[in-house]
């Protein structure tokens, strides 16, 4: 009689019927439509993102926790649970959904004009249009305030010049939310990707998030009308609010990857015989499994706690940092430990473990590195900002 780590923690008892139904739907969708193809997508670094977006949109996954404009309007906790299931399949898939819903759609939903919302959100919710989000630049990651990409007024138009880096969905996007420096401070623009001067070459030779499209955005004299500017976001607080949304999904998502690794390791060690008995029957295996289950369960309790706070409108940015720092760090540790239990099999795409471990290397540093989150928490604890040294 073996038990799932989440049953051991009675995680289901913390979820509503609706939350379980949403989770089960995403889990089944991934089992039927995603998992059979993941090893190939990762190996060939190709993702049928357009078709996937329509299927994900059909379920209601894109912008699922936003209200109106064709969005499903679920709780934040339900969104987190969906992210967990998506990332249990692959971090790249969860990234696609995070960037679409929490970054691009969230930015338009919260800071956009009514016209921008009407134009983009229903099509993005259905997956007909794909969005990306340009904040990071080649030389500015953890310090986005230093960005060089800028917009200058020209008559009633704005002209954008510069480049953005490490942009998920960039090459397949129909619309890019791009943050730039202006004389009025940092502002956001909704840029249709067919605007002359816009291009998005894909970044190749990645050893992580291979089932995900990562791109550079090049803006060479991109001319936009005043109506393309996001009226509700002035300064860096706009894009940072979006990042907090995406980080919230990662708090849950990373645990999905870890859970999938641990499930693989549990199944593998139960079957694999070493010296005439299953690997799972050895004390050294069990101490590893026990410690991993403990961290996974603790992470899930933290994620659900943060989810309830968010649904109550009480979640603070520092608290999201607690979740992102802990859950990604522990998920990566679990993935690596599971790799040791699978031996050489652990490095192949026959098992999901090395794929998750490699993906989590990206998750560890994107949407705020672990170190930045440590400094955010440090700042909260001491009242002293130490970001600059």
């Amino acid at each position: 009689m073996s038990e799932h780590p989440f049953t051991l923690f009675a995680i289901d008892s913390l979820l509503s019927e609706e939350e379980r139904a949403i989770r089960d739907t995403v889990r089944r969708f991934c089992a039927d439509r995603i998992r059979p193809h993941l090893a190939d997508w990762f190996e060939t670094a190709r993702l049928p993102a357009r078709e996937l977006a329509r299927e994900l949109g059909g379920l209601g996954l894109l912008g699922m926790h936003l209200e109106g404009y064709g969005c499903a309007g679920t709780s934040a906790t339900a969104y987190g649970l969906a992210c967990m299931e998506l990332e249990a399949a692959d971090s790249g898939l969860r990234s696609l959904v995070s960037v679409q819903g929490s970054l691009a759609m969230f930015a338009i939903h919260h800071f956009g004009s009514e016209q921008q919302k009407q134009e983009w959100l229903p099509r993005m919710a259905s997956g007909e249009a794909i969005g990306c989000f340009g904040l990071t630049e080649p030389d500015f990651g953890s310090n986005p305030a230093g960005m060089r990409t800028r917009a200058k007024r020209d008559g009633s138009d704005w002209v954008l010049d510069g480049s953005k880096m490490w942009i998920t969905n960039g090459s397949i996007a129909d619309v890019a939310v791009v943050w730039v420096r202006t004389d009025e401070g940092i502002r956001g623009f909704v840029v249709p990707t067919d605007t002359p001067g816009f291009s998005a070459p894909e970044i190749h030779r990645k050893l992580s998030l291979r089932a995900s499209v990562t791109s550079e955005l090049v803006l060479a004299g991109v001319r936009l009308p005043e109506s393309a500017m996001l009226p509700g976001a002035k300064g860096l607080s706009g894009p940072l609010a979006c990042l907090n949304e995406a980080r919230f999904g990662i708090v849950f998502g990373a645990l999905g990857a870890a859970r999938d690794c641990l499930e693989s390791a549990l199944a593998y060690t139960a079957d694999r015989e070493v010296f005439d008995k299953p690997l799972a029957g050895y004390q050294i295996t069990q101490t590893k499994l026990a410690d991993m289950a403990l961290e996974l369960g603790k992470g899930a309790l933290l994620a659900l706690h943060l989810g309830r706070l968010k649904d109550a409108g009480q979640l603070r940015a520092e608290q999201v940092s607690l979740g992102k720092l802990n859950n990604v760090r522990e998920a990566l540790a679990i993935a690596r430990e599971c790799r040791t239990l699978l031996g050489a099999n652990g490095i192949t795409l026959e098992y999901p473990v090395i794929r998750h471990a490699n993906n989590l290397e990206s998750v560890l540093t994107y949407e705020g590195t672990s170190e930045v989150h440590q400094l955010v928490i440090g700042n909260a604890l001491t009242g002293q900002a130490a970001f600059r040294g």
């Binding site: 019927e17 139904a21 949403i22 739907t25 379920l59 699922m64 309007g73």
Partner: protein
């Protein structure tokens, strides 16, 4: 066109299914309970017919209180409302007793044009219930359908069995059971899942249907399970050494098992 879909909650086929020692009925605590997969296809077919012909889709279920989960799943796929017959007296009902209750429950839905069901539940696997319900309702039974077409007041069905494919036609109202080839059921959308909470489910006891407790349950059933034994553990496989005739030995084995 108003459609009733008969649905059943069954133990998940992936979990270990057990019968209770005392009365050989399903030990419901032993396994996860799910909406039977064949019923998902019946619901899907009803929703596709509704999309073309309009009307309402009503889910009818006989089962214990926890069968609400299966009903909720059908509602989250898009069915409009549900009738749930739950009564302690139903415990142990066989197919005929269940068919009597289902027929009465279908009778509570107004203006039914079509009754859809799965051809066979994955737990009991009796496979006779749709025909029984049709008989009790005095309606034509078109079973094992792999394709359903409605044209005005006529329904055409492709019936597929081991004997071949048959083309059936009947006038509505009628009872149709579908097989696993009929369609691919949709995933419940998140909007559907959230809307399902607000859809009407009328919960009835057998007294509400005018069914007497003596006609149902273990006592009122015409069949009974007298004995049950757990599945024997899987025996070790047979190892064949390939001495150049491995292919022949494999073929001989398959012939012996009447597989080729």
């Amino acid at each position: 066109m108003n459609i009733v879909v008969l649905v059943k909650q069954v133990p998940d086929t992936y979990s270990e299914r057990k019968l209770a020692d005392a009365d050989h009925t399903l030990d419901r605590d032993s396994a996860d309970a799910v909406l039977d997969e064949i019923n998902e296809r019946a619901v899907e077919e009803a929703l596709q017919l509704q999309a073309t012909h309009g009307g309402e889709v009503t889910v009818v279920c006989v089962g214990p209180d926890r069968a609400t989960d299966a009903i909720r799943k059908a509602l989250s796929m898009g069915a409009d409302k549900a009738v749930h017959v739950s009564d302690a007296a139903l415990h142990g009902s066989d197919a005929i007793a269940t068919a009597k209750v289902l027929a009465k429950a279908v009778g509570t839905v107004e203006g039914v044009d079509l009754v859809l069901a799965g051809n066979e539940a994955t737990d009991g696997r009796v496979g006779a219930l749709p025909a029984m319900v049709a008989e009790l309702l005095g309606l034509p039974a078109l079973t094992h359908a792999r394709k359903v077409e409605v044209d005005g007041s006529t329904v055409k069905v492709e019936r597929e069995t081991d004997e071949g494919v048959f083309f059936l036609e009947a006038s509505l109202p009628a009872v149709i059971s579908v097989n696993e080839k009929i369609n691919e059921p949709r995933y419940p959308s998140f909007k559907g899942i959230m809307a399902a909470k607000k859809k009407p489910v009328s919960t009835l006891a057998i007294g509400d249907l005018g069914v007497d407790a003596g006609e149902v349950g273990l006592g009122g059933s015409w069949t009974q399970v007298t004995e049950a034994a757990p599945k024997p553990p899987r025996a070790a496989g047979q190892r064949v050494e390939d001495e150049g005739d491995g292919g022949v030995k494999v073929a001989e084995y398959l012939v012996g098992q009447k597989l080729i």
